[in-house]
């Protein structure tokens, strides 16, 4: 139980002494890749239980994971003949598994997928991150997603004005993006879209919008 002596907890801060293991070499990298699901441990699928009680799974598998991550991390097919060619096959599969896992990590981290444990990869591995494994990697990775312009493409479905000017709307306590600017004094509207009196002449201003803050 931590004891608070100083009101600002400064004495407790001093107590925080342990640091996460920094990833510096291939072995710690392999541990990282195993821990976050880039390398599947031995017969992973075989030992998952069928029943739906996930917490039980996790408790049991959690312990097992620890041991597995420390031990061998080699893929095995269910009907491989385990005895006679275990050693040479293992060493070959092991480095292959490591390289392909490393490539996968590099790919999803936006790094060149070289399979080489270089400085950039080391730096990426040492970033603060979520402890949930990545084995449910979402295929929605940068290469096959045009997300950055999806929003605009969605805009295409609307007859959108070209641009917008933000203004300070203090009465709403926010500086917002606003919809098109009507310039009722400029007759040469480039966007005269109606004639039946229901609308006004709309000319569209070309200012760009400002970043929006909540």
């Amino acid at each position: 139980e931590k004891l608070f002596h100083n009101r600002d907890h400064s004495d407790v801060q001093m107590l925080n002494s342990h640091q996460a293991k920094v990833i510096t070499d291939k072995h710690t990298a392999e541990l990282f890749l195993s821990r976050y699901g880039f390398i599947k441990p031995v017969n992973w699928e075989e030992i998952q239980f069928e029943d739906s009680d996930a917490s039980f799974n996790d408790d049991f598998l959690g312990d097992l994971k620890d041991t597995i991550q420390e031990g061998s991390s080699v893929h095995r097919s269910r009907d491989a003949n385990l005895d006679d060619d275990r050693d040479d096959r293992n060493s070959l599969t092991e480095s292959q598994a490591f390289i392909s896992a490393l490539k996968e990590f590099q790919r999803v981290s936006g790094l060149p997928a070289t399979g080489v444990f270089d400085e950039a990869t080391k730096e990426a591995m040492n970033k603060p991150r979520c402890g949930v494994p990545d084995n449910e990697i979402d295929l929605d990775t940068p290469e096959n997603s045009t997300a950055s312009d999806t929003e605009n493409s969605t805009n295409d479905t609307f007859s959108q004005p070209d641009s917008i000017t933000a203004s300070n709307d203090t009465s709403r306590n926010s500086t917002d993006l606003y919809d098109p600017i009507f310039n009722i004094t400029s007759p040469s509207s480039s966007h005269d879209i109606n004639t039946d009196g229901q609308m006004v002449n709309i000319s569209v201003n070309t200012h760009q919008s400002e970043a929006v803050r909540r």
Binding site: S55, C130, D176, P180, T195
Partner: protein, 424 residues
């Protein structure tokens, strides 16, 4: 201990179901959360921690049909999402934290979220350390069923990216969570474009407008350009629209012609006139009229309460809707137009015979963005045939209603938040 826990949990908590994506999702819409007493952080005050988590849950609520409520009283097994801080081996969790650096938090299927208190968590916009808000939003995303998404800009990226300013859910994250829980649906009291005149530094008069949706006592500003509501909405009505009924209105009407420019709100048997300059309802307008006024006084011949109303600049009439009747009010003559009230089908005939709202409209909304009139009812809307439609297809009836569409497929992410999260 495990078996006991399993029996408790299985008995009292509704099982999660696998949505078609194969990811687990809650099957109820209001979820309880709690920051566990023995899991407080030693770095932030308890109030800060709870405020940040309330904000994090609200951010998910703003883009999904889920509501989150902090529950500090119910028995623990009734809490859907439990949050706590710890270092090393913590809170009975089987995954030890690794100290400062690398793993800063994790979340488990049953809704437990643990934060590594060896990390330097800071309040939003602190500019240093790891934003607790950002990490909380990420971990809650896991609990709600989202995996890691390696896409720049996604809140579900596994690595922490320092954020120089506030972060928000981008389009794809919104679609991901809505893929699990569906879009935000619901009835609106009214929808309108609020128009204001302002002077530019060059003395030029420009007109601005914003689109607003109102539902009960709160409202959203809708950014048509970005196909979403303003970040941080909904907001309580009394915050942004002073002087009108706080529990919502029936209609918003903007009478705008060469001679008139007046905005009215309607509720029950009364109406208010809104003062754009001072951004509040008039008590007494420049013509000396006191508000609220009876609708029967201001609009003789129109009965109340009304369902909704809108002003049609083409014929300078206000169309009031009530049940299956439409009252067209001639503003210049200050009287009902001849022949009204009429049945709504006669005034707004269906283009496809059986596809018609048949009265009891929620909102009649003229959108400057789409240059069209929309009649909203429930989760659907009908667009009124415009002049351009009739130019292309002359056979279309005047003021005909085109086949209905879904509101949430046209105006996105207009989502409720739990009332307790409204005042953040």
């Amino acid at each position: 201990r495990k078996r006991h826990l399993a029996t408790i949990v299985s008995k009292s908590r509704r099982k999660r179901d696998l949505s078609e994506t194969g990811y687990m999702a809650f099957s109820k819409r209001v979820l309880k959360w709690r920051l566990i007493g023995e899991g407080y952080s030693s770095q932030l005050s308890i109030e800060d921690q709870r405020y940040i988590f309330r904000m994090a849950f609200r951010m998910w609520s703003e883009v999904s049909p889920l509501d989150f409520v902090e529950d500090t009283r119910s028995p623990l097994e009734e809490i859907d999402i439990r949050l706590g801080f710890g270092t090393g081996r913590h809170l009975g969790c089987n995954q030890r934290f690794d100290g400062t650096g690398q793993e800063f938090a994790h979340a488990w299927f049953l809704g437990d979220i643990h934060f590594d208190d060896d990390e330097h968590f800071t309040a939003p916009n602190a500019g240093s350390g790891i934003s607790l808000l950002k990490v909380a939003v990420h971990e809650i995303g896991h609990v709600l069923g989202l995996p890691h998404i390696y896409r720049s800009g996604s809140i579900m990226q596994p690595s922490y990216l320092p954020q120089d300013s506030g972060f928000e859910m981008d389009w794809m994250d919104r679609k991901a969570i809505q893929h699990l829980y569906g879009g935000c649906k619901g009835r609106f009291n009214t929808a309108f474009d609020w128009i204001r005149k302002e002077k530019t530094p060059y003395g030029e008069v420009v007109i601005r407008f914003n689109t607003y949706f109102m539902r009960d006592g709160w409202y959203w500003l809708y950014e048509n350009r970005n196909n979403r509501t303003r970040y941080g909405d909904p907001v309580a009505l009394q915050v942004g629209w002073r002087g009108i009924p706080m529990d919502g209105v029936d209609a918003y009407v903007h009478v705008w012609s060469r001679k008139r420019d007046a905005i009215y709100f309607f509720k029950g048997a009364h109406f208010w006139r809104y003062d754009n300059e001072n951004d509040q309802a008039y008590r007494q307008d420049p013509e000396g009229h006191r508000y609220p006024k009876l609708i029967s006084e201001g609009f003789p011949g129109v009965v109340s309460p009304i369902d909704t109303a809108f002003y049609d600049r083409r014929d300078s009439r206000i169309y009031f809707f009530r049940n299956t009747l439409v009252y067209a009010f001639n503003v210049e003559a200050n009287s009902l137009a001849r022949g009204f009230p009429k049945n709504i089908r006669d005034v707004f005939p269906p283009v496809v015979s059986r596809d018609h709202p048949d009265g009891n409209i929620d909102a009649a909304y003229f959108s400057y963005t789409h240059n069209a009139i929309f009649l909203l009812k429930g989760t659907r809307f009908w667009q009124v045939v415009g002049s351009r439609d009739r130019w292309r297809r002359p056979f279309l009836p005047r003021n005909g209603l085109l086949p209905h569409k879904e509101v949430d497929q046209h105006w996105f992410d207009i989502c409720n938040v739990h009332p307790t999260a409204l005042k953040l």
